[in-house]
């Protein structure tokens, strides 16, 4: 599970490197297990890759099933993603790319309505929001007591102000919780 945790918090630029060495780094003692059985090393690496992808997935068409098929084996990592949110290096990458995109648009004739600060902040904030919401969505789809408890806990923490979650993310988590198995 340690490897999966590292992958979900890694910059997209480093994920492929981690995946390339995953079979070396992954000791059998940390292989994910669930009620349905143990994931092989190969499956664990694949699960890590799918999980990292899912948390940033844009068009979800058919993608949810690709991550929920690992069921309880990835719940702990999804809970980690829900609680901690996107890593700072991921957000920094999004910020840099959004800045470059803004400058490119300004070089062309297309009308841009926002200032660069607004344009960049929107993409960074939306990525962070999406990351947590995707974790909640997958947890709800997989279900089980741990997943439900995590969804309830994050909402409780948000209610107390112990964690900052955007209003649309909170509503999404509530919705997913209401439909959780």
């Amino acid at each position: 599970m340690r490897l999966i945790r590292r992958l979900t918090s890694a910059s997209p630029l480093t994920i492929s490197l981690l995946l390339a060495t995953a079979t070396v780094l992954l000791p059998s003692t940390v292989l994910a297990t669930n009620g349905a059985g143990r994931l092989s090393e190969e499956e664990a690496v694949r699960a890590a890759r799918e999980l990292a992808r899912w948390l940033a997935v844009d068009c979800e068409d058919g993608n949810l099933m690709r991550v929920t098929r690992y069921k309880q084996a990835i719940v702990a990592d999804l809970i980690g993603a829900l609680e901690k949110g996107a890593a700072s290096d991921q957000l920094e990458l999004v910020r840099r790319e959004a800045e470059a995109s803004y400058m490119e648009l300004k070089r062309h004739r297309w009308e841009v309505a926002s200032t660069m600060d607004v344009y960049v902040k929107r993409d960074v904030d939306n990525f962070a929001a999406q990351y947590r919401a995707r974790a909640a969505q997958a947890l709800a789809a997989i279900g089980g007591p741990d997943a439900r408890a995590a969804l309830e806990a994050i909402l409780a923490k948000a209610g107390k102000g112990e964690v900052q979650i955007r209003e649309d993310v909170r509503r999404a988590i509530e919705l997913f919780l209401s439909k959780a198995k």
């Binding site: 068009c59 490119e104 939306n126």
Partner: protein
């Protein structure tokens, strides 16, 4: 026939390269706007016998192009992709003569009407920025269209009808539903792309699936969208769908994560292949195909080219030209 004999004799004598433009079929491209080096895809018979039909490597041109000696047969076609013109699809007939001269004239870029319906307060600037990004990406990739948006705030009871059209289903996925209510809400225009900036959490969704009501003119943009989400959904609207049948590219090793139809969520996506551009302009089937044809912005000379279908009239999805 005489020129062909001469060509053969010169080739045999080593006095002429097979690619020599001295004796070759020629294509003249008129009407290129903006001084673009257009991208030309040619499918034709390049050699006699079985296997002589091929999609030639994509070439670039500013107006004059030598093609070697293209021969009769093979359902020949030419597609020309341009930044400032609509994609041209022609079916020139070639003869045995190695001096065929063909000429085509490009037409202006297609103006695509887009009705942007603002449900989420303060989404107007966001929608404008996303539209700018989509227009830039579609121009850079020579799709031959320009999105012409209008923006209008959704008010009254229509808000609920529209928001209910994009919901989490029992399988925990986002789905479109009750699209008839959306279509009858007063905030929908038939024959145009309708984009709804919703308050619902989510990124982007096209309502093309039959289970969703099947209207590829309806696109939802949720509150988690990034700057390339709208361009991605426009790709779906133009026939690059379903996602799991080549509409999405992340599982195809021929594509990088920079492809706009990759679902990995990055705003950095910037690339359509020539095979994707071709389909966005031509794909026509019983599942609505590209909205450019369905909405009457292109004539019905399309062809059934879903993403994963490759044959004499459908180039491979990954067919491309050297960038930039």
């Amino acid at each position: 026939m005489g020129s062909r004999t001469l060509r053969q004799a010169l080739l045999l004598a080593g006095l002429l390269s097979p690619a020599s433009p001295a004796i070759a079929d020629k294509l003249t491209i008129n009407g290129i706007d903006g001084g673009d080096r257009v991208v030309v895809l040619v499918h034709a018979r390049t050699a006699p016998g079985a296997g002589g039909c091929e999609l030639m490597e994509a070439t670039r041109s500013t107006g004059e192009l030598s093609l070697g000696n293209l021969l009769p047969g093979c359902e020949p076609w030419i597609a020309i992709l341009s930044k400032k013109n609509r994609m041209l699809l022609a079916k020139p007939a070639w003869t045995d003569d190695a001096n065929d001269q063909r000429s085509v004239t490009l037409k202006p870029v297609i103006d695509v009407p887009v009705r942007v319906w603002i449900v989420k307060p303060d989404a107007r600037d966001e929608a404008t920025d996303h539209m700018a990004k989509a227009n830039l990406l579609f121009e850079q990739n020579r799709v031959g269209v320009e999105f012409k948006p209008t923006y209008r705030r959704v008010t009254g009871e229509a808000v609920e009808a529209i928001e209910q059209g994009f919901r989490v289903d029992d399988d925990k996925s986002m789905h479109c539903q009750n699209l008839r209510r959306v279509q009858q809400s007063g905030f929908y225009e038939r024959g145009a792309l309708n984009v709804y900036y919703s308050n619902n959490g989510g990124t982007g969704k096209i309502c093309a699936k039959k289970r969703d009501g099947g209207d590829p003119n309806i696109i939802y943009i949720g509150t988690f969208a990034n700057r390339a989400t709208l361009a991605h959904e426009f790709g779906h609207a133009f026939g690059l769908r379903p996602g799991d049948e080549g509409g999405h590219t992340e599982n195809d090793p021929a594509f990088t994560d920079g492809n706009i139809m990759n679902t990995d969520g990055k705003g950095r996506r910037h690339h359509f292949s020539a095979g994707q551009v071709f389909r966005m302009n031509t794909h026509d089937d019983e599942f609505n195909g590209t909205m450019l044809i369905k909405n009457g912005q292109r004539d019905r000379t399309g062809r059934k080219c879903p993403p994963l279908k490759t044959n004499a009239v459908c180039p491979p999805l990954e067919a491309d030209w050297d960038r930039p």
